[in-house]
Amino acid sequence: MMDRLGHVGLNALVGIPLVGALLATIGIGLFWMPYDPIAIDLTHPLGSPGLRHWFGTDEFGRDVLSRSMLGARISVLVALATVAVAITVGTALGLLAGYLRGWTDRLLMMITDAVLAFPGILLALALIAVLGSSDGSIVLALSTAYTPSVVRVVRATVLSIREREFIEASRTAGDSPLETIARHILPNVLPPVVVLATSLFGWAMLSESALSFLGVKVPPPAPTWGNMLSESRPYMDVASWLSIVPGLCIAGTLLGVNLLGDALRDWLDPWRET
């Protein structure tokens, strides 16, 4: 038992400060940033990190720290929106498939299988090619790629509990299917969904930065960490901080979110091992 507490503890001990730092950065950025993140200052291009600009400046003389702070807000918003859409749609479809079974279930499973057969990034790329590149289409494309995994997890959970006595009791008591689902099934589905949501958040963030890196991005000049990374490539040899700072931001955030997700899973579901 101590063992397990120790494990949860270590994950939380590192995860919570990292996520806290991210939230604090976003919070502070709402009220104050050292410089205007999109103000161009051509007298100081590619300035190295120092007292005036802690993380240096980019090729247009824009302050990297301020841009990273604004980037945190945009990257997190895009990831949150993606997770919200995927979780809502996925949970609804998963509940339907698991509760109704039969043809609804079979059809939904065939569709999720087909969507899962496309590599997530390529599917998102193709959808963005068709929809046009904007924040909205990135969210839509990524949530399309992630919804099937939510459907699968929710459906599996529903299948594991739908024959249990308390569900039977609710049905016998004359509750409508909707009531049974909302009152008795949904609460049991939530823990695995919460855990899945944290890993989805990490994937969404990673995919958004990968898409931006590939050139399909949230329209500039708004910085996301992925945009900043892809724009830093030509200056890698003369201004390595431009590549290192946003990369560390992504890695730190992902590490924090993943650890928090692990801690959450150990806490919600202590019988399953990492």
């Binding site: 065939m110 569709i111 390529l122 193709a126 993943n258």
Partner: protein, 314 residues
């Protein structure tokens, strides 16, 4: 065994049909004349009429789909808007490089993950376990393209050990080609080993607690034999499934790595064609990767009984 294989084969049919339907409909999502979308803005009237006749655009959608599918099954995926070359040829030409990088990297990552995960589970909660889990967790949080850029910065620019931009085909110089591929393979191996290691560790922990392992130990078998003969085969099966799942997704993930290292692979072809709105190539790449994914996972599932004989009994 035979019925297991047949059942598994049949299961791929609905998936493949839906995949091809989705790829077919993708082009129809774009507003406007599909023939114009497929040939690009500058197309002349004769070519447009030719494509319209080919696709049977005056026929209802289901008929169009069947005719498109017949072409695709014969390996005719249309022509690129940008270069005019047949899409199938372009894909095959680029696939070799991508497949080589992915196969080498995934094999390396699997070997690393299988041994590290097994040892970490065996010495659970020791310093080794903590180090393995810690490393795997950190690796999971590092974007592959950023790792690639850092490696470029380090080995290519600062130390100058490895060539870092461009690529020389194997046909010209095998030695040179391999040097160019060291960093991409290294990047992919590192990023893929994270998730596989965690999987291997957790399934090894489960297996180590089973009675037959205790029994094997009680018989006086050495730890080495217990681990390699008794624990490994069962613990490896879930990891193998995960390898199959990642192998498919790597065909997408490698696009960013090919961009970092400017390799002319399949991922780059897909990205370039998306940016150039070269829809026939986008369609072809999507269909191709999805089919590869389905086939790879079919093969993995067919390998499953080799590791876990109980599978066929189900």
């Amino acid at each position: 065994m035979l019925s297991y294989i047949l059942k598994r084969l049949l299961l791929t049919l609905p998936t493949l049909s839906l995949v091809s339907l989705a790829v077919f409909l993708l082009i129809r999502l774009i507003p406007g004349d599909p023939a114009l979308v497929l040939l690009g803005e500058g197309a002349d009237a004769a070519a447009l009429a030719g494509v319209r006749a080919d696709l049977g655009l005056d026929h209802p959608l289901p008929v169009q789909f069947v005719s498109w599918l017949q072409h695709a099954l014969r390996g005719d995926l249309g022509r690129s808007i940008v270069s005019g070359e047949p899409v199938a040829g372009l894909i095959l030409q680029r696939f070799g490089l991508t497949a080589a990088v992915v196969l080498v990297a995934v094999t390396a990552a699997t070997v690393i993950a299988a041994s590290a995960g097994l040892i970490a589970a065996w010495r659970r909660n020791s310093a080794i376990d903590l180090a393995v889990v810690g490393a795997a967790t950190v690796v999971l949080a590092i974007p592959s393209f950023w790792l690639g850029m850092v490696l470029l910065l380090l080995f290519g620019l600062k130390l100058g050990w490895l060539p870092f931009v461009g690529y020389i085909p194997f046909s010209e110089s095998a030695m040179q080609a391999m040097l160019f591929l060291v960093m991409p393979v290294m990047t992919l191996t590192i990023t893929e080993s994270g998730v596989l290691t965690r999987m291997m560790r957790s399934s090894s922990i489960d297996v180590l607690q089973l009675d037959y392992v205790t029994h094997a130990r009680a018989k006086g078998l050495s730890e080495r034999v217990v681990l390699t003969r008794h624990v490994f085969p069962n613990a490896f099966a879930p990891t193998l499934t995960l390898v199959g799942l990642t192998l498919g997704h790597l065909l997408g993930g490698i696009a960013v790595i090919e961009t970092v290292f400017t390799l002319p692979g399949l991922g780059r072809l897909m990205v370039d064609s998306v940016l150039a709105r070269d829809y026939p190539v986008v369609q072809g790449c999507l269909l191709f990767t999805a089919v590869v994914y389905v086939v790879v996972n079919l093969l993995v599932d067919l390998c499953y009984p080799l590791f876990d004989p109980r599978v066929t009994a189900r």
